[in-house]
């Protein structure tokens, strides 16, 4: 992969640097026209570059999952969508000294649709990042990014997004949303950006950062739950909104 385009970053990277000499590997997936495939990828240590080409009217789902704890990991996913292609990137990330997922999705032809759904949990001193560049290069394309993270103790999360709508990409709809729940001494940084060069578009982003709602916590505790149980229940409900978006087979 030559240059991998990505999103603007915070001036100072709050995440710990990668050590040198991490193993690197590349994967290529070509999804033929009209087919529907699910590509499960277990996140491994090291650098992973993934190329996904989704041909006309094909439908690809990439499911990135952390099953075993990894130390340092970085995934660079480059998705290219042709006419009426559909693509869904699902991230289920937890743990890590530093786990970072960069997605660069090019909606090259009209009618293509891309979705990104992410669930992130960090605890201890874990660092995670998610960076999504959604490039609308053709008319009538749709983008929909939804990320939710929960960070406890001294963990950190960085969420950046860039929705870029090219001049010719009229009738485009695109959304970016990230919500973060913070506990203890955790920190989060959000940088959702938009660059819109067409005018007949609907583009928006939203971002919230905060802690679990006191009133909800109080309600659950008044029903006999301990503070820990109540908070776990609220976190589970928080992720439910992302789970609702996932394909049935992956749940």
């Amino acid at each position: 992969m030559s240059t991998f385009l990505t999103t603007p970053r915070p001036k100072k990277d709050p995440l710990r640097p990668y050590p040198e000499n991490l193993a690197a590997q590349t994967m290529k997936h070509n999804v033929p026209a009209g087919e529907e495939v699910v590509i499960p990828i277990k996140l491994v240590s090291g650098f992973v570059d993934i190329d996904v080409q989704v041909a006309e009217a094909a439908h690809a789902t990439v499911i990135l999952q952390v099953k075993n704890r990894v130390d340092f990991s970085r995934v660079q996913l480059h998705g290219i969508l042709k006419k009426d292609a559909k693509f869904h990137l699902v991230g289920d990330i937890s743990g890590g000294q530093r786990i970072e997922v960069k997605a660069w999705i090019e909606l090259r032809e009209s009618g293509s649709e891309a979705k990104v759904s992410g669930m992130f949990t960090g605890a201890g001193a874990e660092h995670q990042g998610m960076h999504v560049l959604m490039e609308h290069m053709a008319p009538s394309t749709r983008g929909d990014i939804f990320l939710r993270g929960v960070y406890k103790e001294e963990s950190r999360g960085v969420f950046t997004g860039l929705i870029r709508v090219a001049k010719d990409a009229q009738q485009t709809n695109s959304y970016f949303k990230d919500d973060v729940l913070l506990f203890d001494d955790a920190l989060a940084e959000s940088l959702p950006t938009l660059e819109i060069l067409a005018n007949d578009v609907k583009a928006s982003h939203g971002s919230t950062t905060g802690r679990v709602d006191d009133e909800q916590l109080f309600y659950l505790m008044s029903r006999g739950l301990s503070k820990g149980q109540a908070s776990d229940m609220l976190v589970s409900g928080f992720f439910e909104k992302v789970r609702e978006r996932l394909p049935k087979s992956s749940v």
Binding site: D200, V201, G206, S207
Partner: protein, 485 residues
């Protein structure tokens, strides 16, 4: 309102290229256009920036040694810092072709009668109504680099409110100025703040004593009037405990042939329980680089409100900031930008929560048309330990045609879990159904579009004093002319 005629004249008139300028008399371009006398400048620095120019400025102003030293220090910082490249394109600015100091008259006029004829004529043409000049408290008109006209209502004087141009303030109240000058925005903050600190001239100084409420907005007019004249005003507002003041800044400027630079610095200190509102309606001519640093320190229970409207200039980079430094401090930034052909409005706001239980709200509305580009650039920072902070950021952008562009670059750096931070941004065009509805009621397409735009900016327009809001609406109507077709 007559004054908007001035805005209109400035923004719309095509003014011919002036003949080659001779020192020390510059042919005033606006005067040529309207047939008035050229203005004699009593002192004009050579174009370009050097230690000598800075020393000359300080010498002609007869400044105390500490200010001279501070200017020279700032010049060194300016030379050592690179141009910011993260925002708008600034590569066309040639610092060596700019005049850093122009002084149209030798002393600050005490009454309106003392203001020289040629300058008065120019203000007449700007259309500032006579009644307003007399009745509005403390109308201070800045012509070129120094205040030439400054009147202060006697009742304000009785309250102990100081409202002077910055140069006079430095002479009359050196202690207060020295205590606060450069404390909110030091010269090292950024390259353009360093430039301002080195060559600043004019601007306003406002001091409101403890417990005093200034009920009438304080207003100042700013205007660039000579080709290649940079204007580097420096404003400092100090609101003591429990006081209130509303400062209004409006800018007009005629069209020039060379790129002009406006690099102002505005420092505001809001002490315990005080409230300050700062309103700007910026309509520089469309070849001016408007690069302004504005920042407020807000202490316990204090409130700062920035209301910032940007219509003119070629490039504007301006991010009014609130540093919330005491429990219960509150900061609002309302930002409005309109970018027409060839303009880039890079505006936004910053909220730094330096104390627990502080709150901030940034609302940005932008409209772009033709090749105009608007960018929202903002920052919310909550350091660790700042419990109970709240921040809301809302940015809405309207794109009027297929050549316009809008960007949103917000950053939220949250290092404390006990906070509530929300951010929303939307970008879109005028809804077909809205246009259809209005047109079915008998409005033309142009009228309907103009009405939708006015409605879009309403939440900010209603925060602007009435006479400015009227002007602003006319400006928008004017900008919207010819946008259908």
């Amino acid at each position: 309102m007559d004054r908007s005629a001035g805005f209109r004249a400035c923004a719309k008139q095509k003014i011919p290229m002036p003949a080659a300028t001779k020192q020390p008399v510059i042919n005033d371009i606006a005067s040529q256009q309207f047939g008035a006398d050229p203005i004699a400048y009593s002192f004009m620095s050579k174009p370009g920036l050097s230690e000598r120019v800075v020393k000359e400025i300080s010498h002609y102003k007869n400044e105390p040694e500490w200010m001279r030293a501070q200017r020279l220090r700032a010049l060194k910082i300016f030379d050592s810092k690179p141009m910011p490249t993260w925002g708008a394109d600034l590569s066309d600015i040639d610092f060596q072709s700019i005049y850093y100091y122009l002084r149209p008259t030798d002393k600050v006029a005490k009454t309106w009668d003392d203001v020289p004829d040629s300058i008065r004529k120019t203000y007449d043409r700007l259309g500032i109504p006579q009644a307003e000049r007399k009745y509005l408290a403390g109308v201070m008109a800045q012509y070129e680099s120094e205040a030439v006209y400054h009147s202060l209502k006697s009742q304000l004087e009785k309250l102990g409110v100081i409202f002077l141009d910055m140069d006079t303030a430095l002479k009359k109240h050196p202690d207060i100025v020295k205590k606060y000058f450069g404390t909110v925005i030091p010269a090292g903050d950024n390259k353009l703040a360093a430039l301002n600190s080195a060559v600043w001239s004019g601007g306003s100084f406002v001091y409101v004593p403890s417990g005093v409420r200034v009920e009438i907005p304080l207003q100042a007019y700013f205007r660039i009037n000579a080709e290649r004249a940079g204007q580097f005003e420096r404003t400092l507002i100090v609101a003591e405990e429990g006081s209130y003041v509303h400062y209004v800044e409006g800018c007009t400027a005629p069209i020039y042939t060379a790129n002009s630079l406006h690099a102002a610095v505005v420092e505001i200190i809001v002490k315990k329980g005080a409230r300050v509102r700062y309103t700007t309606v910026q309509n520089w001519s469309k070849n001016v680089y408007n690069l302004v640093t504005k920042r407020t320190y807000v202490y316990e229970e204090g409130t700062m409100e920035w209301v910032d409207g940007n219509f003119g200039s070629k490039v504007t980079m301006k991010y009014p900031s609130v540093y919330l430094l005491g429990k219960g401090a509150k900061g609002d930034v309302l930002s409005l930008a309109f970018a027409g052909a060839g303009q880039h409005q890079d505006a936004g706001g910053k909220a730094i929560h330096g104390a627990p239980y502080t709150s901030s709200k940034i609302v940005s509305k932008s409209v772009s048309k033709e090749s105009g580009r608007t960018s929202y650039r903002g920052m919310v920072f909550i350091p660790h330990g700042m419990k109970g902070c709240k921040s809301t950021v809302i940015c809405d952008a309207l794109l009027l045609d297929e050549h316009s562009r809008s960007d949103t670059y917000p950053t939220m750096d949250i290092r404390e879990s006990d906070t509530q931070i929300t951010h929303e941004a939307t970008v879109g065009k005028i809804g077909e159904n809205q246009l259809f509805y209005l047109m079915s009621r008998g409005l033309s397409q142009a009228e309907a579009m103009s009405m939708v735009v006015s409605g879009f900016i309403e939440p900010i327009a209603k925060e602007i004093p009435l006479e400015y809001a009227v002007e602003m609406n006319r400006l928008i109507e004017m900008e919207m002319e010819g946008s259908v077709g």
